[in-house]
């Protein structure tokens, strides 16, 4: 097969490319330049796609003896991921930009271009298993990235390969060290690549400016404080609310209403939800017949919760959680899994959360 290896400059994609070469494929490495104003050097363990990261990727490609190019996707990334991220927050929702990037950049813009240029598949260093069109969790539960891949369709998955899903991250680093890759001990990237300092609230404040509004206590309806913008909050958030309640019980963000810019907070007993309503789902294979039992994961690194999935009149899903959950924010993806301890939980599909309520009505 002619495969395109997306190489971020990190250890995972380096080893993924190496394994693709070992498997006998005709591999070409591509580094995606996603930021319009790239930094020369990485700052700490955060962020990616600095010039230094491109250099790291190129070093590995040169050692593997494969062609290597940099593709400039900054314009697409800005529109489809960064602007989307800002717009979602402005609308009171909590997006996952990694998932959006997989959906619209890596397995859309890049995959389309790769196919047009004669490649059969795109290889990435994601930690997830993919075989026979079935997407499953990585054997390394702590590094599993199936959540951010849950948005991919069968069609997208048919041209994807994730060689690392069957091994632990430690093993990935071992392989890199055995091969003498300089990135073997490179720190994992964390957080959001286009916010290298990790200050999401500051990033959004620069983009959206000050948008003051009230903080309202759900129990009393009283305004208990003021905030600089609803984008500084996410449902379920406990810290940094900037209000002191009358009692010592912790308060959580229960809801965000972007038009009136109201952030509603309340005590833990009000923060749990059990019914999640979503937008139209996407499926990794054939759509399962409704209703069905599954596990749902509501955010990256969240704990999966057993649930019952039914449809609603608007083409979305209604997901009834067996146990109440806190911090289910609109905009997040509800990724559905069929538990399979033996072969890895199977990703069925996902749907964006529209709303979540505490009643099972």
């Amino acid at each position: 097969m002619r495969v395109l290896a997306a190489m971020s400059g990190g250890v995972d994609s380096a080893v993924a490319a190496a394994l693709a070469v070992d498997a006998g494929h005709d591999v070409t490495g591509v580094h995606l330049a996603l930021s319009p104003d790239r930094q020369a050097l990485r700052s700490g363990a955060r962020g990616c796609c600095s010039v230094e990261d491109a250099h790291d990727a190129r070093r590995v490609a040169d050692e593997l003896g494969i062609p290597f190019y940099v593709w400039d996707l900054a314009e697409r990334f800005t529109e489809d991921v960064v602007d989307d991220f800002v717009a979602e927050y402005a609308a009171g929702r909590t997006p996952n930009p990694c998932l959006r990037c997989n959906e619209r950049i890596k397995f859309s813009a890049v995959l389309d271009r790769a196919r047009a240029l004669g490649f059969d598949a795109v290889v990435t260093g994601h930690h997830a298993r993919l075989a026979d069109g079935e997407l499953r969790r990585s054997v390394d539960a702590a590094k599993d990235q199936s959540y951010v891949l849950g948005v991919l369709t069968a069609e997208q998955l048919s041209a994807a390969a994730f060689p690392l899903g069957g091994m632990t991250k430690d093993r990935v680093r071992e392989i890199a060290a055995e091969r003498g890759f300089g990135v073997a001990a490179k720190p994992d990237s964390h957080d959001i690549c286009f916010i290298p300092d990790g200050d999401t609230r500051g990033f959004l404040a620069r983009r959206l400016g000050s948008r003051r509004g009230p903080v309202v206590d759900a129990a009393t309806g009283a305004t208990v404080g003021e905030h600089e913008g609803t984008y500084g909050f996410t449902v379920g958030q406990r810290r940094g609310l900037g209000v002191t309640a009358g009692d010592s019980r912790p308060r959580y963000v229960l809801g965000i209403e972007p038009v009136s810019r109201t952030v509603t907070i309340g005590t833990a007993d009000l923060a749990g939800v059990c019914c999640v309503v979503t937008a139209a789902p996407t499926w990794t294979g054939t759509a399962p017949a409704l209703p069905f039992r599954a596990e749902v994961q509501l955010r990256a690194h969240g704990t999966p919760v057993p649930c019952e999935v039914t449809g609603d009149d608007a083409g979305g899903l209604r997901i009834l959680l067996d146990e109440d959950q806190r911090g289910v924010a609109a905009g997040q993806s509800a990724v559905l899994y069929a538990p399979d301890p033996l072969r890895g939980d199977l990703v069925l599909g996902q749907a964006a959360v529209r709303s979540a309520t505490a009643t099972r009505g």
Partner: protein
């Protein structure tokens, strides 16, 4: 990879070293001696370096004392632009203006922009003809009475689209108003007639590795009466304008390469032009909407070629230069999109934008450059694959909305 010998059509980036250069350099590399030392080993090194200087001066119509060895074209451009600017401004603080073409190599452009940002320089950008050429009339108008101009710089031949300017006429215009004139002749030497003395320019940049010499060795030809403030301070080895221990082996190689390039220029230029014309005609026959950038193939300036004989620069509407390059590379054919930043991200060529091309056209371009090892078989190899490559790249689109 399935191919063993790539088809190399990127001689403007760098060209294979000549066997006689390799021999001359290896002869030197095993010897000890700092050309500044006073003992016998030093004298031997000095002798080799000075012979090279004389040989190079003769090849380029300069006096040996006008040859300053540098670390390459980029250093020579930096030294000329910054050094002439500083010296001229020091002599008269009103001289803060730099008159320069926007189609220059980045070594000139970025030096100028640095001076504007840090040294209070004002930049007057010269208008560039659609061919890529700067006319004497345009330079004269930009210079005005010249009293506030520190330096003017226009390249002898453009590295991307091959446009040759009438440098002697430009230098004369600058001198009419008392302004020193620098030219980057990195691509011109060995392809067109470059005679430093006859051209009248004050400073000329050239480099070895475009001629079959080593990388990291270049020259700034600087007239004896030109005041130039140093960039590198130290031992003052090169006329007190450039410091650093002379790299004798590289200098010897550079001189051998320059002499060979100049001696064989007429025959080689004719052969390169023949191959280049075949290449362009063959590509256009298969991809009829391909567009040639730069001067016409038979263009003439000052009774010599108006376009570098080894240069073909073509746009393929609807295809991305990046994609074309990758597909050709996969078939063992090596060329260039002309302009890449340090991270390897393709940008629309500033040269094409300067000559009035729209960004789409600029992004859809490839440069094929021929050199001393080029053959008909190289052209045949390109012509055997160009049509399907362009078709596939067009299917991949431009990646933009």
């Amino acid at each position: 990879m399935t191919y063993s010998d790539p088809v190399y059509l990127d001689h403007a980036a760098t060209t294979p070293m000549l066997p006689e250069v390799l021999a001359a350099m290896t002869g030197q590399l095993g010897r000890v001696g700092n050309a500044s030392s006073l003992h016998a080993s030093g004298r031997a090194a000095r002798r080799a370096a000075e012979q090279a200087r004389e040989r190079l001066a003769e090849a380029l119509g300069a006096r040996p004392s006008e040859v300053l060895f540098t670390g390459g074209g980029t250093e020579s451009d930096n030294l000329a632009v910054k050094g002439l600017f500083w010296a001229r401004r020091a002599a008269d603080s009103r001289r803060r203006r730099i008159v320069v073409s926007p189609a220059e190599h980045h070594a000139v452009l970025d030096s100028v922009e640095w001076l504007a940002k840090h040294e209070g320089a004002e930049v007057t950008w010269l208008p560039v003809e659609p061919s890529g050429r700067v006319t004497p009339a345009a330079l004269a108008e930009a210079l005005g009475d010249g009293s506030d101009v520190a330096v003017a710089s226009v390249m002898w031949a453009n590295n991307e689209i091959g446009a040759v300017s009438d440098v002697a006429a430009l230098a004369a215009v600058a001198h009419d108003v008392g302004v020193p004139f620098h030219t980057d002749a990195v691509q011109a030497v060995g392809q067109v007639l470059v005679d430093f003395g006859a051209s009248g320019v004050d400073a000329l940049t050239m480099t070895g590795h475009k001629l079959g010499g080593p990388m990291g060795a270049g020259v700034l030809l600087l007239r004896r009466d030109a005041e130039c403030t140093p960039l590198l301070h130290g031992g003052g080895q090169e006329r007190d304008v450039r410091s650093g221990t002379l790299d004798v082996a590289a200098i010897v190689g550079l001189a051998v390469a320059a002499a060979a390039a100049v001696d064989g220029r007429v025959e080689r230029a004719a052969e390169l032009a023949r191959l280049r014309d075949r290449l362009v005609a063959g590509v256009v026959a298969q991809v009829p909407d391909a567009q040639l950038n730069g001067p016409a193939l038979d263009d003439v300036v000052r009774s010599g070629p108006g376009r570098l004989p080894g240069n073909a620069h073509l746009s393929f509407p609807g295809a991305e230069g990046d994609a074309l390059l990758m597909l050709l590379d996969a078939k063992g054919i090596e060329c260039s999109t002309g302009s890449a930043c340090s991270a390897g991200v393709a940008r629309p060529s500033h040269v094409l934008l300067a000559v009035g091309a729209d960004p789409e056209r600029a992004r859809s371009s490839l440069r094929f450059s021929l050199g001393h090892t080029s053959t008909d078989a190289d052209v045949d190899a390109l012509l055997a694959v160009i049509a399907p490559v362009v078709e596939r790249a067009r299917r991949a689109g431009t990646g933009r909305r």
